[in-house]
C-alpha cells in the first residue's frame, strides 16, 4: 500500500513537471547545470584581461545611469523605450541587471539587434538565471563577454566605482566572492561612491518562491557592505520594485522591464556628491 502511494506521488511529480514545463523554463537546470558560476567567473576574468575594465570620463559634476532588469526578450517594446529614454536623457551608460532574455539563442539575437540600434550608448549587461537557461551562457559570452567586472566613472574631482556581479546561479561562488572581497579591500578607499549591481535580490522582500542567496553567503556580503561602505546594491529578479535599508547601504530591487508587466519600470540613478534615484514607469 505504502509503495503504491510512493509510486503515485513520483508519477504525479513527473506529470506536474512535464505539464508545467513551458518553453520558457529549462527544468534540466533544477538538477544539473550547464556550467558552474566558477566557470562563468573564470571566463569573465579572461575576457576582462583582454578588454580591460572601462573608465568613463565625464566633465559634468552630475551624471545619470539608467538601470533595468528582467526584460525577458522575446518582445522588445519596453526595451526600446528604455534605451531611447536613456539616449534622450543623455545618460552616461545603461546597466542591465540580468534576465535580459529567455536564454534561447533566437532571443539573444533579438536582444542584441535591438540594443545595437543605440550604438553610442554604453551598455553594461549581467546574466540572470534566465539568461543561462538552454545553455544561454555561451550566447551571452559570445555577444557581450564578461558578466563579472567593474567600471569607473571619473570626473574632474571624483571617481565612482560600479561592480557588476554574477548571481545567476543563486550564489557568487567561492572564486567570485574572493575576487569581490579583494577588489573592495584594495579599491574602495580610492573612490567616492561604490555601487553593486547583481541579478538576485539579497533580501526576501515579499512572499514569492524565487531564490535568494544562501544565508551563509548573504551574511558575508552584508559584512562587506558595512565594512567597505557600499552605498547602493541594485538587483532585479523579484520583478517588483522594493527599497530597503541596512546600515548605510540602500538595497533596491527593480521592477521587471518585461512587456507584459503592468508595473514595468526602470531606475534613473542620478549621481553627484550624493546618489539619488527615481523609478520611471513605462
Amino acid at each position: 500500500m505504502a509503495n503504491r502511494k510512493i509510486k503515485i506521488l513520483i508519477i504525479s511529480i513527473i506529470l506536474i513537471c512535464s505539464i508545467s514545463s513551458c518553453n520558457k523554463a529549462d527544468l534540466r537546470s533544477m538538477f544539473i547545470s550547464y556550467e558552474s558560476v566558477n566557470t562563468r567567473f573564470e571566463q569573465s576574468l579572461n575576457k576582462n584581461m583582454q578588454t580591460g575594465y572601462q573608465t568613463i570620463e565625464t566633465t559634468n559634476d552630475e551624471y545619470q545611469l539608467f538601470v533595468m532588469s528582467d526584460s525577458h526578450v522575446g518582445s522588445t517594446k519596453n526595451l526600446n523605450t528604455f534605451m531611447q529614454n536613456a539616449v534622450n536623457a543623455d545618460a552616461t551608460a545603461v546597466v542591465m541587471v540580468g534576465d535580459l532574455t529567455t536564454g534561447k539563442e533566437d532571443d539573444y539575437d533579438v536582444f542584441a539587434e535591438n540594443i545595437e540600434k543605440y550604438p553610442t550608448m554604453l551598455k553594461f549587461p549581467i546574466v540572470g538565471n534566465h539568461d543561462i537557461f538552454f545553455n544561454g551562457w555561451n550566447c551571452f559570452y559570445k555577444l557581450f563577454g564578461s558578466t563579472v567586472y567593474y567600471f569607473v566613472v571619473k570626473g574632474t574631482d571624483f571617481s565612482d566605482i560600479y561592480f557588476c556581479l554574477d548571481t545567476g546561479s543563486g550564489t557568487l561562488g567561492d572564486k567570485q566572492l574572493e575576487w569581490f572581497t579583494n577588489q573592495l579591500e584594495t579599491k574602495r578607499q580610492l573612490y567616492r561612491h561604490c555601487v553593486v549591481f547583481t541579478h538576485n535580490n539579497l533580501f526576501r522582500a515579499r512572499h514569492i518562491p524565487t531564490t535568494e542567496p544562501m544565508t551563509e553567503e548573504l551574511l558575508v556580503l552584508l559584512d562587506l557592505f558595512v565594512k567597505y561602505n557600499v552605498n547602493i546594491v541594485i538587483t532585479g529578479h523579484d520583478h517588483k520594485k522594493d527599497v530597503s535599508f541596512f546600515g548605510n547601504t540602500t538595497h533596491i530591487i527593480l521592477s521587471a522591464l518585461l512587456d507584459k508587466n503592468v508595473d514595468a519600470a526602470y531606475l534613473n540613478l542620478i549621481v553627484n556628491d550624493n546618489i539619488n534615484y527615481e523609478f520611471l514607469n513605462l
Binding site: 547545470s33 538565471n129 546561479s169 531564490t211 544565508t215 551563509e216 558595512v226
Partner: protein, 247 residues
C-alpha cells in the same frame, strides 16, 4: 564577551540550572555532542565546529537548547551560534503530531549578527517525518558596527516570513538498533536557509546501548535549484553521540 552573547547565554544557563535542580524521575534528558566538518562557497576555509545541545522531555513537553563553537586553531570567533526550542506532542485521530517553536542566534561577525525564529508542526509515522512551518530572519548590526561606521539608522532588517520544511524517510522505526534516513529540509540545528535553498541530508545512527547512540550526518547544500539554475554551494559532515538519561 560581547553583549549579544551574554543576552543569549544567561537564559540558557538559567534553563540548564532549572532542569538540573528539577529533574524528575519521569523526565528524560538527551545531551548531544557533535563535531562538524565542512566547506561552502562563503566559508573561505574549512569549517570545524563543535556543538553541544540538550533537550529535556517531561510528559508531552520538551525544551531544548544548544551552542556551537568554532574550534579551528586560528578562528577569530570561538562562539558561533545558539538555539533554544520548545515543543509539545499531541494527537489528532491516529496521527502523532508535535508543535514546535524555536529561536536561533548567529553571532556571525563583529559587524553583523542574525536572529531567526519560527514555528512548525511535525507529523511522524514509523518511516516518514514531515515538518511544516514558518520562520523569519532578522539581520542586525552590532553596536561596534554602529559606532565604528557612524551608522545612524536602519540597524536591523526583518525579512518576510518564509516556509520551513523537512521531508524525511527512514528505513527503520526510531527504536531500531540502527537506522538510515534521507531528508530534504531548510533547517539544521543552527542554520535556517531560505525556503528556496533546500539542503539534502543523509543520516545514520547506531545504538551502543539503551543509553548511548552514535550518529552521523552528511549535508549537501546547493543554490539556485528553484531558479532552475542549480549550483553546488557546500557540504557538511557531522558525527557525534547522544545520551538518553532517564525514562
Amino acid at each position: 564577551m560581547n553583549k549579544h552573547l551574554l543576552i543569549i547565554l544567561k537564559p540558557l544557563i538559567a534553563i540548564t540550572l532549572f532542569l538540573v535542580c528539577n529533574f524528575s524521575s519521569h523526565a528524560q534528558i538527551n545531551p548531544k555532542l557533535f563535531i562538524d566538518f565542512g566547506k561552502h562557497n562563503a566559508s573561505n576555509d574549512y569549517i570545524v565546529n563543535a556543538g553541544v545541545s540538550t533537550s529535556y522531555k517531561f510528559g508531552k513537553n520538551k525544551i531544548g537548547a544548544g551552542v556551537l563553537f568554532d574550534i579551528k586553531p586560528n578562528s577569530e570567533k570561538f562562539f558561533k551560534n545558539t538555539f533554544a526550542e520548545i515543543s509539545r506532542d499531541f494527537k489528532i485521530k491516529k496521527y502523532k503530531l508535535n508543535a514546535n517553536a524555536f529561536f536561533m542566534y548567529n553571532d556571525f561577525s563583529n559587524l553583523v549578527v542574525e536572529y531567526d525564529w519560527g514555528v512548525f508542526v511535525g507529523l511522524n509515522n514509523e518511516k516518514f517525518k514531515f515538518n511544516l512551518g514558518l520562520f523569519s530572519k532578522i539581520f542586525s548590526l552590532t553596536s561596534y558596527a554602529i559606532t565604528e561606521y557612524m551608522i545612524s539608522d536602519n540597524y536591523c532588517f526583518a525579512e518576510n516570513f518564509g516556509l520551513l520544511y523537512c521531508i524525511s524517510y527512514q528505513i527503520k522505526p526510531d527504536e531500531n538498533i540502527y537506522n538510515l534516513s534521507i531528508a530534504i529540509t531548510n533547517k539544521d540545528y543552527f542554520l535556517l536557509t531560505r525556503s528556496t535553498n533546500p539542503m539534502l541530508k543523509i543520516y545514520t545512527n547506531y545504538r551502543f546501548s539503551e543509553d548511548l547512540m552514535w550518529f552521523a550526518e552528511a549535508w549537501l547544500k546547493t543554490s539556485g535549484s528553484f531558479n532552475l539554475s542549480i549550483n553546488y554551494f557546500g557540504f557538511l559532515a557531522r558525527t557525534g553521540l547522544i545520551w538518553q538519561i532517564g525514562k
